[in-house]
């Protein structure tokens, strides 16, 4: 039950080495072990997206990845994305549109939205809705979130064109 394994990884640009219980999920490792409480758990089944973080550049569900499997990985959480400023425009758009109410879904939602910015810069509103369908939000009607992401996609396209 209590097997431990040593892992070394990079989290938000900092080197981290820990001995982890083999059954520990990435999200619990980040939250309990490292005190990075930005990403949340809500379903623990890979359904809701609240735990979404980046591993080696890809958006993943922190509740489905085992921490013990991450030796050598590069992990980025909402705190890291905030510090680097990569999604500052997206965060500002969320504030301006009130696309975050209780904010519990928001960190995961933003990591998913950052994925759209990166991989689908021409996404339509329907594409955005499709892409964030793995991220549940119980407070907003999603509309403000779609608006905010759409605003940023447009602004980025424009500044690209200019």
């Amino acid at each position: 039950m209590n097997r431990r394994i040593d892992v070394s990884l990079t989290v938000n640009g900092e080197k981290v080495s820990r001995s982890v219980d083999t059954r520990t999920h990435l999200i619990d490792f980040l939250r309990s072990e490292l005190g990075l409480t930005g990403a949340h758990t809500a379903c623990e089944h890979g359904v809701c997206g609240a735990c979404t973080v980046r591993v080696d550049g890809d958006a993943v569900r922190g509740c489905l990845v085992m921490a013990a499997s991450l030796d050598g990985a590069v992990v980025e959480t909402i705190e890291g994305l905030s510090d680097t400023g990569e999604i500052r425009d997206l965060q500002a758009a969320f504030v301006a549109r009130n696309a975050s109410q209780c904010g519990y879904c928001t960190p995961g939602m933003l990591v998913s939205a950052a994925d759209i910015l990166k991989h689908a810069p021409n996404a339509s509103r329907d594409d955005i809705r499709e892409h964030i369908s793995g991220n549940y939000c119980r407070c907003t009607g999603y509309q403000a979130i779609v608006d905010a992401i759409d605003d940023v996609l447009k602004a980025r396209r424009e500044s690209e064109a200019a």
């Binding site: 039950m1 209590n2 219980d21 059954r23 520990t24 939250r31 309990s32 005190g35 409480t37 930005g38 990403a39 949340h40 809500a42 379903c43 623990e44 089944h45 359904v47 809701c48 609240a50 959480t77 909402i78 705190e79 905030s82 965060q91 969320f94 504030v95 301006a96 549109r97 009130n98 975050s100 109410q101 209780c102 904010g103 519990y104 879904c105 928001t106 960190p107 933003l110 329907d126 955005i128 809705r129 499709e130 964030i132 369908s133 793995g134 991220n135 549940y136 939000c137 119980r138 407070c139 907003t140 009607g141 999603y142 509309q143 403000a144 979130i145 779609v146």
Partner: protein, 799 residues
Amino acid sequence: MNEIVTPRSLGLSREDLPNSYIGRAVPRPNARKLVEGRATYTDDVSLPRLVHAAFLRSPHAHARIVSIDTSAALDVPGVVRVFTGAELAKVCDPWVAVLAHLKGMKSAPQYPLPLERATWQGEAVVAVVADTRAAAEDGVAALAVLFDPLPAQVDMETALRPDAVIIHPELGDNLVFTRTAETGDVAAAFASAHKIVEATFHTGRHTGVTLEPRSIIADYNRADGTLTVHHSTQAPHMMQNVFATQLRMPEGDVRVICKDVGGSYGIKVHVYPDEMAVACMSRIMGRPVKFIADRFEAFGSDIHARDHRITGRLAVDAEGRFLAFDIDDLTGIGPYSVYPRTSAVEGNQVVNLCGGPYAFGAYRCTTTVVLQNKSPTCQYRAVGHPIATAVTEGLVDLAAEALGLDPVAIRRKNLIRDDAYPCTSPAGMRFEGLSHHASLDKLLDMVPLERIRADQAEQRRKGVYRGLGFASFIELTNPSPFMYGIGGAKISAQDGCTVRMDPDGSVVALSGVTEQGQGTEAILAQIVAHGVGVPVAKVKVVTGDTQTTPYGGGTWACRGAGIGGEAALQSAIALKEQILQVAGAMLQAQPSSLDIIMGEVVDRATGQSRMPLSELGRIVYYRGDTLPKDLARELVQTRHYITKEYPFAFTNGIQASWLEVDIETGIVKLLEHWCVEDCGRVINPMLVDEQVRGGIVQGIGGALYEHCIYNKDGQLLTTTLADYLVPMAAEMPDMHVGHVETPTQESLLGAKGAGEAGTAGAPAAIMNAINDALGPLSAKVFAQPFTPERILKALGTIA
């Protein structure tokens, strides 16, 4: 300032004044931490010597607890202690959830953990405390608890039969509460009717699914005998009272802190036995204990709601005028009424709200509230509203059909006139001022009716079935003590705000109402900035700490803006008056000749700046020696507010839903949705719009997807987010929100609530739209959620 303050003199409905913040879409000051992942939800708090709790939950709907063997659990590494119901009962008194004004109501005493019997599957039975949650769960797995399964009373329809299993034998039967409201001669109205329409409606048992699960840390400090509780709750002062009362402590020794709360919607305003158990365990151990429900636990132990079967009849005359409603409601609430609001209130609301938007003569409505072996139900967003609205609006559409009238025409004919107020409804509700016709007008401005009806006809020719549905509704907000207080519940209907000016001229506002994401802190900042006369960025709002904020009710039944907002406005005005007294002394001027605009004391007549507030603050706080000796210099004011004339501020609105039903698969596709609501004075339109949209989506959830499904033995089958469907982004339509403003005269601010509106009306609008779509096929659905299976059954496609 010897003037009488009025909404007009305050510039409450004008946006063009300097420092006018009412009615403006000001962004929320607390939003940045949310988008940066730097908020503090309860689970984010860690304390020295913290231990974690996990519970063994009953696998049976009804079972006697024969024995509990804890020895193997105590041997699990990391496990610190195991607690049973009997141990916790030594430090905690049981509670009984009844309200005196709900005559004849009864329920059984409830303990943190049950003593003899488990009465629903998912009820916490034994607690294990360990140094990590994982170890606590290992401990739970090692517990040996012997249950003797008993027959379960699952079906509410049979709960009152002579052969029913009596869940609490000491109560005699499973009847919790029944009430009939009757006005006018119902029998005569039905006898004289031109047409009578009738249907039986079901609203599906569903739950709130707050994305942040229920969370609590209780921290009993043996040094000073205080209990500090970090709690994901909507009502910190209410919980302070509950912890103090049940654990036999003075109220001042209990402090409840709720920083960020990850969604609540009424789910987090109740007393949960497992959370009380956490407080008891901390009290016994003298160290902090944390419990965070996981999703599985949430489905089985968060309150459920809306498990109703309602039969309704509407009598109409030949012109299509409503004569009488006759309604019979039955609801199953699980094995206990939930403390302290009680589980009878939802059924009681159905009685209060049915027929609400309409003028008619005779009314009869009965609710029957019964026990069953399922999770307890209690108040969830828009308590009773979506049920009453679905029944009322479903019957209205049936009447329109029976008379060959258009759904808009029949509503126009029967909605209470906008000039008929104040008035009292047949259900006994007092309305101060509603705007059904103005709201309908506004809705018709927004909904492209002609285009939709043309498209509908054309699509039908192609075999595509689209429908448009309407639903008018009333919404109860700004609750007075008539909601709970008169029934003996210690739930504050008043709320307070303390406003203080600091030396740099900034303002701190401490409020008893709480922030759950709806933007309470933003609107309080706007109101205070407006009231004192400072830039909104200069106002810091503090909520969610019973030790520092004025005593109040917190967030429920839409009271944040209407009650908390008015307290904030009154305290801000008082502070401004006080500042001007001091400024008058400093500037050798009549206080009434001065004003405060954007943080500057100015000459009222000329607008010329006389002194910044920072200078006034510097002198008051650091150089008081230079001021007149007897000058009152308290730059802090507190005001409390409670409504006086009306038990509730009713609001109203109307929704429309446009959708397509795939008759091959039974799947409903939402195309567009509209909502017009009247929440009185709109303080921040952006926040109101998003509240309404979020509410609509929760209403859509209840109408189409969400369902707590049990098998006949009382086993809950929907226990993960993979089994229990909630609305996702891709299925949600564009939602258009419009406003009519009828400020309440009860307060200066004039605000009523807006949080329930979306949820109240959406299911009925969707039901009517589905039935409109299926009209040519003569199929109708009345049982929520309107799943593909139910739609195909209505179509006769499947048996």
